[in-house]
């Protein structure tokens, strides 16, 4: 029988706290979503001043990364490179800031961040995941 790691709430709290720290350090205001590998919500926090749109976008970025097992930045790059047909992919939000969490070779979920520039959103997501895995994702 195969076994695989699963995100516990404790892991999510660690990711979210580190991500919020990274945002605060830079004076950024964001929403942070953590989903499991089925694309279902595990943890979410929206800092004061982040918009309702940020809430929805963070969740969708995370869902894209969780279900496609790829960062949303990769999807964005593909489209920028000219594969505009990728815009019709179901359930894909191709905007940087969603990062899959890969542990022991398996995708166990994803982090999505929205609120600042896309590459900064990704920086925050990476900081959260690094706090859990002890390395950059």
């Amino acid at each position: 029988m195969k076994t695989r790691p699963v995100l516990a709430l404790e892991d999510c709290l660690k990711i979210s706290a580190a991500a919020q720290q990274e945002a605060q350090r830079n004076k950024w205001i964001v929403a942070i979503a953590i989903l499991d590998d089925g694309g279902h919500l595990l943890h979410f926090a929206r800092m004061d001043g982040a918009t309702p749109a940020n809430a929805a976008i963070a969740v969708e970025k995370a869902r894209t990364a969780a279900l496609s097992r790829r960062s949303t930045g990769v999807w964005e790059e593909r489209i920028k490179a000219g594969r505009t047909s990728m815009l019709k992919m179901p359930g894909i939000l191709p905007v940087q800031g969603g990062v899959p969490i890969v542990a022991e070779g398996a995708c166990v979920g994803a982090v999505g961040v929205s609120g600042v520039q896309s590459h900064e959103d990704e920086q925050i997501a990476n900081a959260g995941i690094a706090a859990l895995l002890g390395r950059n994702p």
């Binding site: 709430l9 499991d36 279902h40 919500l41 595990l42 926090a45 929206r46 004061d48 969740v59």
Partner: protein, 156 residues
């Protein structure tokens, strides 16, 4: 007849009073949401229950969410639906649930867009104003309601 009338009047006035007393205030802050979340999770932990808990602002948008280990994944969406209903209609899911249970014309509540007629959704009130809402799912309706109301009490 008298009895029924009294019951109807009591029900109606309770509903009207509640609707009047709870105007929308400023949207909930993350700190307030954390306080309500901690109280709800403490209540759940005390009973060894696994839940999803969603806290929304008074526009129905998510502010804070936690799913504890072992909660079924549908609870995530159900908790949000319950919270959305409590924020949008400024009343607990239990109020809809009780009305629905009386049957007859009240079955129309099932057609009320976005309304969740399930115990476990409560408006969050600060200084008499609705600042947001809390939705809980994962246990029986009563357990969900108990955890949600622990969250409400933390802001009082």
């Amino acid at each position: 007849m008298k009895k029924i009338l009294a019951a109807v009047l009591m029900g109606a006035s309770a509903f009207a009073t509640q609707a009047l007393a709870q105007a929308y205030g400023a949207p909930i802050t993350l700190d307030q949401a954390r306080k309500a979340m901690a109280a709800a999770q403490a209540e759940a932990k005390k009973n060894n229950w696994n839940f999803s808990v969603a806290i929304l602002d008074n526009g129905g948008h998510m502010v804070l969410f936690e799913r504890s280990d072992g909660a079924f994944f549908a609870s995530a969406d159900v908790a949000r639906d319950k919270a959305w209903s409590a924020a949008a209609f400024r009343r607990p899911g239990k109020a809809f649930q009780d009305r629905l249970a009386t049957g007859g014309i009240e079955i129309r509540l099932l057609q009320l867009r976005g309304a969740s007629p399930l115990d476990g959704g409560e408006p969050l009130i600060v200084d008499g104003k609705v600042v947001g809402s809390i939705g809980v799912s994962g246990g029986s309706g009563e357990q969900d309601g108990q955890v949600a109301r622990a969250g409400v009490a933390a802001l009082k």
